[in-house]
Amino acid sequence: MARIELKDVTYRYPYTKSPALKHITYTFEPGKFYGIIGENGGGKTTLCNLLRGLIPHFYQGSLKGDVIIDGTDVRKWDTDELSAQIGYVFQNPFTQISGIKETVFEEVGMGLENLGYSEEEVIKRVCDVCELLKITDLVEKDPNALSGGQKQRVAFASIISMDTEMLVIDEPTSQLDPEGTEDVFQIIKTLKEEHKTIVLVEHKIDLIAEFCDEIIVLKDGEIVFSGPTHEILSNRALLEANATIPQAAIFGHAMADAGKPLADIPITIEEAERLVRERKG
């Protein structure tokens, strides 16, 4: 389940001349964590919209190639049912709060109400997800009066409570402060431990380096690099392609250039520390 296959997909938004995605072929396997990085305007959010089924159902335009979600072509999926299959969290914490619920508890339960779960099931799931994401202190509060970081955590809880196999997460921290960002990192870590299929778009490359199994680098609507995280992020070509790479990797390359190479190019600070200690012996 939750396997998505893209076969030579090219997509152009309505009223635009050039395609936002070009000839994308990729398979998203269940239970894996994918990071999507690359320049702005490179097609990251468009790819999210595609995986979420918003293309072609919400955004019109021209879609060529095949998008196969759980064995069924996206065009044949009932768009509303897709939302029960694939969760979606995006950057703006303010527009993700429904604005019609009085407490966070009810806000988190809203998706389950819409899916028609029984009262006990809704209560159980909301309690579980609030415990899991450590937002139990927020449940009685008015969701409209929360800070951006708190709203984003509630937005996550609201989607995770629906227990979809797959989650598409588009720049969840770009409007948050360091503490809010850290809270979202913790949530993402929890999700990884739950073995969800996750697609994450994120500028904070250190987050990508820490969690992702595979990386896709997009540029001008095309996949320019893809593969296992370590392999991609430690690749010198990425540095030369003007992509953001982890500070730890920059450090690793700099050590090599200075004639003090480490055994491997680190991509996280922990790796860098270990490799430096090993080198010193």
């Binding site: 979420r52 509303d80 009262e119 139990t136 629906m162």
Partner: protein
């Protein structure tokens, strides 16, 4: 740990803990509406006042009494005073008994009662409907409407518009600041302020439109449009047997008042000031 007492509340019908507030919104509406119509037939100042007094007594028992009184008192005073004063300008032939003379402005008793009668139907109707709307939160109304088959899209529109107004206000302040900070004068003479109007209004409208697109996507992610039966975490007690009886009584009372108003009330000497 989640406060279990708080969670338990969702296992029962939502309770305000007062008799009136816990009536089903439908009951409240039918009773209020039926009563609200009667001062219109009666057109009699003491009847309208009586309705206001009874409504106020009911409101006293409500948790929302503050909201009720802050609005009802204003409506009551403004409408009554306005009508009373306006009616004293330009008299009819029936005005014969002088009341007072304010620096040459002659007030008449007949005109006073006439205006009070007129005011009583507007005030009686408004105050009774204010009781319904101030003691029944919007989400209770939309909940009951959904139970009666209204779509939850309609509920969403009604509920979110309140929040939207709050959000829009906050955004307007930020936009105003942002334009001030780039040098657009927002204080001073009328021309200066008029010039500032467009730069603040346009981003507000564009922002609202963009917000709508994101909101749609966010709601969609919460399975908002899935065509299944919805469940409700927060539930209201359905209409009880005695509530049906209350509604029936209200309807009968309403019909009776039509008869009483036109056959009896108008004949009483105390009301015959027209």
């Amino acid at each position: 740990m989640i406060n279990q007492e708080f969670v338990d509340k969702f296992r029962h019908y939502h309770k305000y803990g007062t008799w009136w507030d816990d009536l089903n919104p439908l009951t409240k509406f039918v009773v209020c509406f039926m009563v609200a119509l009667t001062p219109i037939y009666a057109l009699t100042w003491w009847y309208g006042l009586g309705v206001c007094v009874i409504v106020s007594i009911v409101a006293m028992t409500s948790k929302f009494r503050k909201n009720f009184f802050s609005l009802a008192v204003k409506v009551f005073l403004i409408i009554t005073i306005l009508l009373v004063v306006l009616r004293q300008i330009g008299h009819r032939a029936t005005s014969i008994t002088p009341l007072i003379n304010i620096f040459g402005w002659q007030w008449y008793v007949e005109t006073l009662f006439n205006s009070l009668n007129r005011a009583s139907f507007i005030v009686g109707f408004s105050v009774t409907m204010i009781l319904f709307f101030t003691t029944t939160p919007m989400r209770d109304i939309t909940y009951q409407l959904e139970q009666m088959g209204v779509s939850h899209e309609a509920s969403y529109v009604m509920l979110s518009s309140m929040q939207n107004i709050i959000d829009l206000k906050a955004t307007a302040v930020t936009i105003f600041d942002s334009q001030k900070a780039r040098g657009i004068e927002t204080t001073g003479n009328a021309i200066k302020r008029a010039k500032a109007f467009f730069p603040t209004l346009a981003p507000l409208m564009i922002g609202a439109m963009q917000g709508t697109e994101e909101k749609t996507i966010a709601l969609d992610a919460r399975a908002f449009s899935v065509k299944r039966n919805h469940s409700f975490l927060r539930k209201l007690r359905p209409v009880q047997g005695y509530e049906w009886a209350m509604m029936a009584v209200a309807v009968i009372f309403n019909i009776a008042m039509i008869f009483v108003s036109f056959k009896i009330l108008k004949q009483l000497p105390v009301t015959r000031f027209f």
